[in-house]
Symmetry: C2
Subunit: 579 residues, 2 copies
Amino acid sequence: MSLKSFLPILDWFPNYNKNWLKGDVSAGLTVGVMLIPQGMAYASIAGLPAVYGLYASIIPLIVYAVFGTSRQLAVGPVAMVSLLTATAIGSFEGITTEQYITYAILLALMVGAIQFLLGVFRLGFLVNFLSHPVVSGFTSAAALIIGLSQLKHLLGVNIPRSHHVHDIILNAIDKFSEINWIAVVIGILGILIIVVSKRIKKSLPGQLFAVIFGILAVTFFGLGEGAHSVSIVKDIPSSLPSFIIPSFDMGIVQLLIPMALTISLISFMESIAVAKAIQTKHRDYKVVANQELISLGLANVFGSFFQSYPTTGGFSRTAVNDQAGAKTGLASIISAVLIIITLLFLTPYFYNLPKAILASVIMVAVFGLIDYKEAIHLLKSNRTDFSTLIVTFLATLILGIEMGIGVGVVLSLAMVLFKTTNPHTAELAKVPDSHFYRNVKRFENLEVKDDVLIYRFDAQLFFANINYFKDELYDYEKGKGDKLRLLILDGESINNIDSTSIHALEEIVLDFNSRDIDVYFTGIKGPVRDKMLSSGFIKKAKQENFFMSIQKAVDFYESHEKSYIKDKNYQKYTHQTNK
Amino acid sequence: MSLKSFLPILDWFPNYNKNWLKGDVSAGLTVGVMLIPQGMAYASIAGLPAVYGLYASIIPLIVYAVFGTSRQLAVGPVAMVSLLTATAIGSFEGITTEQYITYAILLALMVGAIQFLLGVFRLGFLVNFLSHPVVSGFTSAAALIIGLSQLKHLLGVNIPRSHHVHDIILNAIDKFSEINWIAVVIGILGILIIVVSKRIKKSLPGQLFAVIFGILAVTFFGLGEGAHSVSIVKDIPSSLPSFIIPSFDMGIVQLLIPMALTISLISFMESIAVAKAIQTKHRDYKVVANQELISLGLANVFGSFFQSYPTTGGFSRTAVNDQAGAKTGLASIISAVLIIITLLFLTPYFYNLPKAILASVIMVAVFGLIDYKEAIHLLKSNRTDFSTLIVTFLATLILGIEMGIGVGVVLSLAMVLFKTTNPHTAELAKVPDSHFYRNVKRFENLEVKDDVLIYRFDAQLFFANINYFKDELYDYEKGKGDKLRLLILDGESINNIDSTSIHALEEIVLDFNSRDIDVYFTGIKGPVRDKMLSSGFIKKAKQENFFMSIQKAVDFYESHEKSYIKDKNYQKYTHQTNK
């Protein structure tokens, strides 16, 4: 591995092009302005004081700028990972706020270490096992859970924390009489401000406008105190995060491992998906999955030394970063500097920020993630994938966020395996006036012969489908009747073969030969040929029965057919033995 | 379902052919004579008194004759299932012999019920997930464990029961000084008698000869008593099994469920494998997997009502049954009758039967199951399958019999999935003077073009390999350089496609087109075409870019190449917009 591939910053910093600067500065500032309300809001999803969202928006950004392969990815606190953090730490009962914070930071260290190791051992491919429907179903459900978790701030009532949608809704209905209508109005206005700003121009800092509106409303109308007071952010410490090595408690570490693994993979998946999507627009660099794991891992590890909870590359800020013209990691560094300035000088101004505004920031962000379009598209085009999406969505809502994704992955792999054990098969026949052979069930007017069965099996042959292969073959044979003299096994769809199926093929050849039916093989692929040779199958099935194409096999058979039939009349003489 | 398919006996009994009788009687008697020593021996593997092996050789045989689809399968106690029974019940500590027997019979009821339900719900395909290497490795290891479990009888010492090979061997070495050399001599002579009889003629009842030899030796030399006495079978009750509904203890049932499931599947697998192998020689009936589950299930359920422990169709007796000329289930009924006669009148003669002889019966039977030839064959021909075999073998020996098979199944499925995520790919080029395109890495002198990349991906396209598909494609593209004008995606090996990969293909087409490279599709299969159409992909990739074969695509491209290049000179005019 070269130094540049471990330190991608060396790729762009020494060759920094002056023309990039304008874009980097403007993008860095835009994202930084977004980060202030988002960071505070996402920290509240994670169950942490607002300031920890700002802490998490400094070191990880700078570290990623040094080690990351994407030049537009905006790292920092994101909604999904914040929710997972709350799920992980929320499972500890009866802990103090200090312990909660300590564990969340420890979790960042663990997530970082796991990601770093996954990257070093080149296990980035693991994320490939998350299919599009699983990600879509899971994201939609998580967005719904996150959105609903903000109901309490929007309604101004105290709803117990829960990751089960029905609990949240039932509890909210239960507290209907206690709703703080001032909070509701502020929240709805916040949502409107954000949505309308986005409609007017995508790069408008709508979230900042909502924050300013909220602070002004509370300050002017004195809503922070009194009988109908709304919940506000209050004191945010005016200091940078301190350098503290996270404290280790092996018992806690053990309890956190399953969730740390889940967060490592899910946050990597979110990040790599957006990084790759943005990269296709920029051909001056390449996103490398394993290096991304290393860089996100280091971002989390170093972040945890400076009081950061788990972070990753997020969808919305990355998109804004790219639109605003970011060309290199410098944009992220500029965002981080803006957060530092905020922490040092601006925090007192956020005292009166109503939590309902943070809720509106979150709600707008996450409801955009609810991907009903994909569900409708799949319903129309692919029922299998649609059911995977729906099952994952429901499992995430009902069984909880960490089980949901597991159910989705296992289900989608099981579906693939199941389909491979019951693949599509076809009897082929000749397209008139051509050398092409196609499925007799799909096309009319094909030239079907009574004495030749051409069988195509659309899957690799392996232990779990070889019986299906046999059953289908004997069914086709039965369909042909007694005139059958030649079986052609078309190998063009058979991409691999294992020893179990080679054993079975041997038996099939013997069985057909015993009934005076020849077996020819056509279009066998290289890797399959290799295994057929090394297992001795080609010798047993006879080299001369292997043909380049179906047409060649049929031509050979037809040219020998007459002499073959003549031969058969003498067969009792040529085949006779005394045993 | 027709009555005949639920009661296959109706297929042969009403049409019974007199010519079959001789074969059925001779086979029935031969197998019955084998069953007497085998039944007693296998009961001892299961940890049960010898007579329970005879009990298990009556009702299950008759029930299977009525419901089973195979006409040669010899049902009854077998070594593997006996070992699994011992593993299941042996895990209960501090139980009496009566409880041990009760639980073994309850286990038969549970196994039967599970098999029956699996059959009714048509889940027989589950057994397809056991690959040849897994079965081979597992069987060899189980045979070794069973054989070694008989060491104590062969050596005449008391070795504690264990299913771990190293324990058994260490304990045996420990007790070297206590070895009863008379037992050793009897056992070795027993083995010799069985092996030599088999060498002389396969149908000779060598096991019965060994039993007679053992009884005579003990009786004449008075070896059953005194200081150097050998262990003998002693009293066997002279009565038929009683009708007793197995007693239910839900706590015990719950504890037995995992092993009952394991036994259900493994015993079904052993039985269906031998039934199918024998059936290929007889074309007058068909073995139906789900009906086999139903019949084996009923055999176990009804067997358990008459004090039978779990049974199934066994390898060796079925082979003997077939060789001795069995034509229908009548042979099994005759075997059962012979066992009934034995139980009623002959049991006193077995008093002096030395257990060392039973050990020799078992050892000869199971060491024949150790399948070293398959291991050597795979070592030479298929390293993946070889390692699956070895891992399953070692896992069974080290982790135990019930874990071993699980490790094997999971490993073999993981291997299949892993290979599907990293399939073979190829760049194709034309075989001179033909319309065939083959892998440029396998063949020399192919006609490679600088401006055309023909890419073949040898697997179904799905979420877990679409990134690999992309990576390989872009690597090939890089190999072609700047002259590339046309990408041909050959679909003949792509047997299926999911929504995740269709999304990715859309991006790939857009990306290539944005660099002025056309993308053609050739040989797309019907089921893939269906999904491409319903998802709207064909519209996006343009219908006219889909071709019947690579040659057709290349022909089309070449005929348009010149006008295309001319066109490109005007592209800035045709592509101009003001946005």
